[in-house]
Amino acid sequence: MKRHLPLIFLVLAVIGVQLLTRATGAAFYLTPLTMAAYYSLVVVGLCLLMGYAGQISLGHAGFFAIGGYLSAMLTTKNLMPLKENSLIAACDRLGLLTHGQDMFGEPFLHMQPWPACGCAILATVVVAYAIGIPVLKLKGHYLAMATLGFGIIVYRLALASPLFGEADGISEVPGFPILPGLAVSGDFSARVSNYYLAWGLVAFAMWLLVNLIHSRVGRALRAIHGAEGAANAMGVDTARYKLNTFVLSAVLAAIAGIFLTHYNGGIGPSEAGITKSVRYVAIVAIGGMANLWGALTMGALLNIMSLRGMFGSYDDAVFGAILIVIMLFAPQGLLGIYLPAALKRLLRRGA
């Protein structure tokens, strides 16, 4: 099982870093580390799509937003006015809703986090299939633009719709209880458990994805990426595989969005924006298009640096520069270049 060796390193590193922060009194680092974990989840899903299935997506932040916004909206919106609606009443009878009272003593009704999460994921699956079927028939620039367009529509909807809080987004999102005593929330006291929860989720996702790329499906995906027509001729249903990979990567992004929203206690329209989508693509590119562990490493590293403000006001510019530099000099990603060969190539071209 040597394919899972990096997984062991990951687990050790995660534990090690947490102990380090405890030892150096830098526990505040756990917050950006936890957030970076969730962003990395989006990145590895995108890596599967771009690197293995070979389909670019410039709108993946849209799926992150669909997950986060829906979960936020369902858990914070007062469903009281809809109490008579049969669907809402059914949810109530199933125990999916919380009753409470707001500040003014008025009765309050909103959805519990678990069913909200379920609804958000379901919605993501539906949207991903609906968008995926037409979009994945496109290639090259057309595919890029279509995914970009999708991302922009989600962003515009989030920005313009009062249901989603317009420019302010949704806040006061409650914590997400996973197990008794364990909840995804911004609670200070739960910092460590949230950190392990986030990275545990990432580790689990990596285990699943590494298994997938080493399986028959992974091989088929790489064949599709390499020579789609020839893959089809060998019996691979290329359209279905591309679609399923698209949906899988969308679901991963949505899950990341849901959990991060509950962790942060809120979400804003910037999470759906083009800059975020482009950022994810930049990270996949620098990690090495078809390198899951590279994408994870770069995702964690770059997100932590960005979250800690290390890039200052040049945050977006950094990712733009990464895109250019990597694509010009190292299209196989940072961790894929062999330095002497790259230098030789560079010098030869100059001559």
Partner: protein
């Protein structure tokens, strides 16, 4: 009849690439399609394998119409093909390329793949063994782990062959299997085709190398400018005046 082509037409704008072609391929035979360059042979293959839809006409495989079906469906019914300019998957080893050929004979899907269920691992091992056997058959087992597109041309040819065989097809379409090969390699190809035919696989091949064609085919179809101009045994074709004319020119046909 394993494969029947009926009144097949394919137009590209103003060009009639394939025009009213009719022929059949019996189970167990080796049939060749020959003709000068531009005769429409590769287009014909693309039509049969589903890479191109016909403008009109019918293609029947095992008694069922397959024209217009996507290539993967036709492949799953038991038809495999190789390509004139070799389409191996870059970034994958020779063995992995062949293992893709085994795709329609295996079942592990997304969910079972992600969870690495025990039966999928058994299936993977079986796939791997079978494909190594095929590489062995073609004498390239030592190249199993080499990246496919970095291999020599003849070796890439062999990998494509193995990949097609991995599908356990009933009908094998070979698009110029001897192109770019020398006399010895061509003889090797002939031997190989004979061997797999003996195992029951029907072969339809497009080829320019006349010695190979005359040597191994039981029947030959001759195309010219998209039309079928002759069909018959190698001996009949060699005597056919029309065929001689399109290959060698007017004067020689008279003689």
């Amino acid at each position: 009849m394993l494969l029947e082509i009926k009144n097949l037409f394919r137009r590209f704008g103003g060009l009639q690439a394939v025009s009213d072609v009719n022929f059949s391929v019996r189970q167990g035979m080796i049939k060749a399609v020959i003709g000068p360059n531009g005769a429409g042979k590769t287009t014909l293959f693309n039509l049969i394998s589903g890479a191109l839809p016909p403008s009109s006409g019918e293609i029947q495989f095992k008694g069922r119409p397959i024209q217009g079906l996507p290539p993967f469906r036709i492949a799953r019914q038991g038809m495999a093909r190789t390509y004139q300019n070799i389409k191996l998957y870059p970034g994958m080893s020779a063995l992995e390329n062949v293992m893709v050929g085994r795709h329609c004979r295996s079942r592990a899907g997304f969910l079972s793949g992600m969870l690495a269920l025990p039966w999928t691992r058994r299936e993977e091992r079986a796939i791997r063994e079978k494909c190594l056997e095929l590489l062995n058959l073609l004498d390239i087992a030592d190249l199993a782990e080499v990246e496919a597109t970095s291999l020599a041309f003849g070796q890439q040819r062999a990998v494509e062959f193995a990949r097609a065989l991995a599908m356990e097809p009933e009908l094998l379409l070979l698009d110029e299997p001897a192109a770019g090969l020398n006399i010895y390699e061509t003889a090797e190809v002939a031997r190989l085709i004979g061997k797999i035919n003996a195992q029951g696989i029907t072969v339809l091949l497009v080829e320019h190398d006349m010695s190979l064609v005359m040597d191994i085919s039981q029947e030959i179809v001759v195309l010219s400018f998209g039309e079928k101009i002759a069909e018959g045994t190698p001996a009949e074709i060699q005597r056919n005046k029309e065929v001689i004319r399109i290959y060698l020119g007017e004067d020689d046909a008279e003689g």
